[in-house]
């Protein structure tokens, strides 16, 4: 792990224009936003075109990258900040890690742009939607392609902005506006952590480029490295919806469904995993921060899975599932070098099947007049055959059905967790296996309530299959859901491809044989699915949620009281503090200032009375003054 960032080789040929990947969607966004109504008719096609072109460039660059020694290319573009000791060069780092991310973002992004053409066909704000979507893709690409933490931060804030704009896309709906504000604020908490980490790097190392930071991280005091690691983790938690900042992600589902698929499932929320994986050398130097990452991942994967079991809103279930799956990724990156490749593999596979699931959910909503209540679905398998099949494949991939994506990538994480050894290995492995069972439960519940059973549709709903522009991306993503795991783990091992970033993959000595792990996980998953069938499939689903439920279900419905905790621990004290400060300001500061002014005014008014208009009294005053001065002079000289 010493030679983390190989010395870059001079860049020529195709890779020297790698910046086109970012510039294309950015230009699309600028054109659509500045062009105004003139671009209404063809704006969505242009936006889709820019992302497809960006995907083509990214693919070509990745292919060119495979032929280069070291598989790492650093591009210096221009001087961003140059003042005193502060020298920030804007540049790109194109290495195996950023390449797979660029492919995921542009690939899934392009599919979701195509899907949105159908999904947003009748929306009056279509041009604005596509402009924001392009802006998001550009910012996300900058986030993963930047060669320094400052470049990453610019992209980081860019995706935060795009996420805010897109969650609040239907801003006339109060729920959407509130959810956007909540997402923005909770992200801000995380961003403060990231910003502080960058300040620390500036102060301690004088540089924020990955090469510079990773090269000299060994020179820092242990406490400083741990602080940087924990602050980076705070940023990652905010962006990725991890404990304790997970509450914004389910609410973010107020945005249009393609946004949920692209930003809040496949790409942006995995930025935290990217950040931690990219900062691997920092975490290598601080076991404390790495252990915290591990704990955050384990806690979040359970919270997400438990909360997902009790919700009736199809998108919220998927959102909690996202929270839980990203918990798996955090768990894996927290395990250290053995887990990085597993985390990235799960991230990519998750990008495929979760985007596919969200697009399927969008198709269901499209058919059900934008309803998201699973209790009013049911029996949709026959009405929406393509959606059913693609959604079903995504579902099987997510729960880890043997030989589909999730089976390869999730089992890899569970194996790595168990390989940690000791009691912590057993706890983490147990949590991961339990999470897999819960995942099977809530996803099977979702499948049964949506596609099986008796129709419980509301009056006047006539489900119909979505147009081809929507089903085609779903089909492609379904292929990805089926094959991605096999391709990434077995056919073209990701750990080998990522070797220039994370070093040689270690051949782990398995404490528990992979076959046993696989059998146990599959059994647990089957049990979870069976339980769901016993609860939901075997009997009639009531159209309104039962009110008399156990405390566990109530807790799960309320997301394990995350909002309540945030409100009572942070929001209310904040409100109190604000009120106290306002009171202090009004009474203390304003009181002192106003009081001084009033005293001066009143005093002057009284003193003014001495000005009687009688000349002789003035003369007396002058005389008295003169006598005083003369007396004083005499007293001083005497």
């Amino acid at each position: 792990m010493n030679e983390v960032v190989p010395a870059s080789v001079p860049v020529d040929g195709l890779l020297s224009v790698a910046w086109l990947v970012i510039v294309l969607p950015l230009a699309g966004a600028a054109l659509l936003l500045l062009g105004g109504r003139r671009t209404d008719r063809w704006g969505h096609l242009l936006a889709t075109g820019t992302v497809v072109a960006a995907f083509a460039v990214a693919l070509a660059c990745t292919l060119a990258l495979t032929e280069r020694a070291g598989r790492t290319v650093s591009l210096d573009l221009f001087t961003f900040i140059d003042t005193g000791n502060l020298d920030v060069t804007a540049g790109l780092l194109f290495d195996p890690l950023s390449a797979v991310f660029a492919l995921l973002i542009t690939g899934v992004g392009a599919l979701i742009h195509v899907y949105s053409i159908g999904y947003m066909a009748h929306d009056p704000g279509r041009r604005r939607f596509f402009a924001y979507l392009n802006l998001f893709v550009a910012a996300m690409l900058l986030l993963v392609l930047g060669n320094s933490y400052v470049a990453l931060y610019v992209g980081w804030e860019g995706v935060g902005l795009a996420s805010y704009l897109l969650i609040a896309f239907w801003h006339t709906r109060p729920a959407a506006a509130t959810a956007a504000k909540k997402a923005f604020l909770m992200n801000r908490v995380g961003d403060v952590g990231l910003a502080l980490a960058i300040f620390l790097m500036f102060a301690q190392l004088g540089t924020t480029s990955y090469a510079g930071v990773f090269g000299s991280v060994g020179l820092l005091a242990g406490g400083t490295v741990t602080a940087i690691g924990l602050l980076l983790l705070l940023g990652a938690c905010g962006k990725s919806g991890q404990f304790p900042l997970q509450a914004w992600l389910p609410d973010a589902m107020e945005g249009p469904t393609p946004v949920s698929a692209l930003i809040h499932a496949a790409t942006m929320v995995t930025a935290g995993v990217y950040l931690i994986a990219r900062s691997a050398p920092v975490y290598d130097a601080t076991p404390t921060a790495r252990t915290v990452v591990l704990a955050v991942g384990a806690v979040t994967l359970l919270i997400g899975a438990i909360a997902g079991c009790a919700h009736d809103d199809i998108k919220k279930v998927l959102a909690y599932s996202t929270v839980s799956q990203i918990g798996y990724m955090f768990l894996a990156v927290g395990l250290g070098p053995v887990g990085y490749a597993a985390a990235i593999a799960h991230l990519l596979a998750h990008g495929f099947f979760k985007a596919g699931l969200f697009l399927g959910a969008g198709s269901v909503m499209h058919a059900m007049d934008d309803s998201v209540d699973m209790r009013r679905f049911g029996g949709l398998a026959r009405k929406l055959p393509i959606t059913f099949v693609t959604f079903g494949l995504g579902y099987l991939a997510l729960i880890g059905f043997p030989f589909l994506s999730g089976w390869w990538t999730k089992d890899a994480i569970i194996e790595v967790a168990l390989d940690r050894g000791g009691w912590s290995g057993w706890v983490l492995g147990g949590v991961a296996v339990l999470g897999a069972g819960l995942t099977a439960f809530y996803m099977t519940r979702l499948m049964l309530m949506t596609f099986f059973g008796r129709p419980r549709w509301e009056e006047g709903v006539h489900p119909h299959e979505a147009p081809a522009s929507m089903t085609a991306p779903m089909v492609l993503l379904a292929f990805g859901s089926v094959a991605a795991g096999f391709l990434l783990v077995a056919a073209f091992p990701l750990s080998g491809w990522l070797e220039p970033v994370f070093g040689e993959p270690e051949e782990a000595a398995h404490l528990v044989s992979p076959l046993v792990v696989s059998i146990v996980v599959t059994v647990v998953v089957a049990l979870g699915a069976l339980t769901a069938w016993l609860f939901v499939g075997r009997r009639e689903v009531p159209t309104t949620a039962p009110a008399r439920v156990s405390p566990v279900v109530t807790a799960a419905r309320r997301g394990l009281y995350a909002d309540t905790i945030n409100e009572s621990l942070v929001m209310r004290p904040g409100v109190w503090l604000t009120r106290a400060l306002v009171w202090l300001d009004a009474r203390g500061v304003d009181g002192a200032v106003n009081g001084a002014a009033a005293a001066l005014g009143g005093g002057s008014a009284r003193l003014g009375r001495a000005q009687t208009g009688f000349v002789r009294s003035y003369a007396l005053g002058i005389l008295g003054g003169a006598v005083l001065v003369a007396g004083a002079l005499v007293a001083v000289t005497a």
């Binding site: 003014g608 009687t612 208009g613 009688f614 000349v615 002789r616 003369a619 007396l620 005389l623």
Partner: protein
């Protein structure tokens, strides 16, 4: 011949002038009292100039006279115009300029 006599005389003149300014109401009398005070100061200046053998005191006394002459011109003009409008030369009647 000591300077004490001159200084005491000057002090007496100054006091008479000051008391006159404070107690008299007629503007002309007040005015004359001011002149008395000015001249008592002049006397003091001259006394000290003579006793120390320098000329500065005498020069200042000349200045005071010039200024007093100018002041008399303006002061009398003001008193005249006040008398024309108010038919009174009492300083207590001219008390509109106040708080």
């Amino acid at each position: 011949m000591t300077i004490t006599n001159y200084l005491v005389l000057a002090a007496i003149l100054f006091t008479i002038g000051a008391v006159g300014v404070l107690v008299r109401r007629n503007a002309i009398v007040v005015f004359m009292c001011i002149e008395l005070m000015l001249n008592s100061v002049n006397l003091t200046l001259i006394t000290f100039a003579r006793s120390t053998g320098t000329v500065e005191g005498q020069v200042i006394a000349l200045f005071v006279m010039v200024v007093a002459a100018a002041e008399v011109v303006i002061g009398l003009a003001i008193i005249m115009s006040i008398y024309r409008t108010r038919r009174s030369a009492s300083v207590d009647d001219v008390n509109l300029l106040k708080y």
